[in-house]
């Protein structure tokens, strides 16, 4: 199977997209909100359940 979409890869030094994330409670926060508290290790997971 070929890759279906080709989003642009981010490089070191690029501004990160200020995505909005949803907590499990439904509350929404933006990355910029989280960055106010310091650097972020952001992990996008695959998992099984």
């Amino acid at each position: 199977m070929s890759q279906i979409d080709h989003p642009r890869r981010l490089q070191v030094g690029d501004p990160a997209p200020n995505i909005t994330l949803a907590r499990t409670t439904g509350e929404k926060v933006t990355l910029s909100d989280l960055l106010c508290q310091g650097p972020i290790l952001l992990v996008f997971l695959r998992h099984f359940g």
Binding site: M1, S2, Q3, I4, D5, H6, P7, R8, R9, L10, Q11, V12, G13, D14, P15, A16, P17, N18, I19, L21, A22, R23, T24, T25, G26, V29, L31, S32, L34, L35, C36, Q37, G38, P39, I40, L41, L42, V43, F44, L45, R46, H47, F48, G49
Partner: protein
């Protein structure tokens, strides 16, 4: 990832975990596998795409490298990384790891080469502390 949290926090950083699970699935995963971490759910994987994470090929998802990684995890006794159950969210979506500086710029970007590929702990810690 949770085992790195004390060192990450000591460096003044925070771990943010995004899954493709629905809220209940993410809650369950994070309580079992990522306790104490900030967990977010993105069933549509829109945030994955925003960070340039692609859907994988059959090779990236089911190829020899994935099986080899599974064998290494099993033989190493690190069962927490083994896929058990059905995939949550888009089974073709590739994972990735980023470090973001307080100014919002990317300080480290890791695009997984295959479905079981994550950066080593030492690489992550170096990226966070440098």
């Amino acid at each position: 990832m949770a085992k790195l949290n004390p060192q990450i926090e000591a460096a003044g950083a925070q771990i943010v975990v995004v899954t493709m699970g629905k809220p209940a699935e993410t809650e369950r995963f994070c309580s079992e596998r990522a306790p104490g971490l900030r967990c977010f759910c993105d069933p549509d994987a829109a945030s994955y795409r925003a960070f340039g994470l692609m859907r994988g090929t059959n090779e990236q998802l089911f190829g020899p490298a994935v099986w080899l990684k599974g064998a290494q995890v099993t033989l190493g006794g690190k069962f927490e990384g083994l896929p058990v159950g059905r995939p949550v969210g888009d089974p073709f979506q590739m994972p990735g790891v980023f470090v973001l500086a307080p100014d919002g710029r990317v300080a480290f970007a890791y695009y997984s080469r295959h479905a079981g590929d994550y950066p080593d702990d030492a690489v992550i810690l170096r990226a966070v502390t440098s």
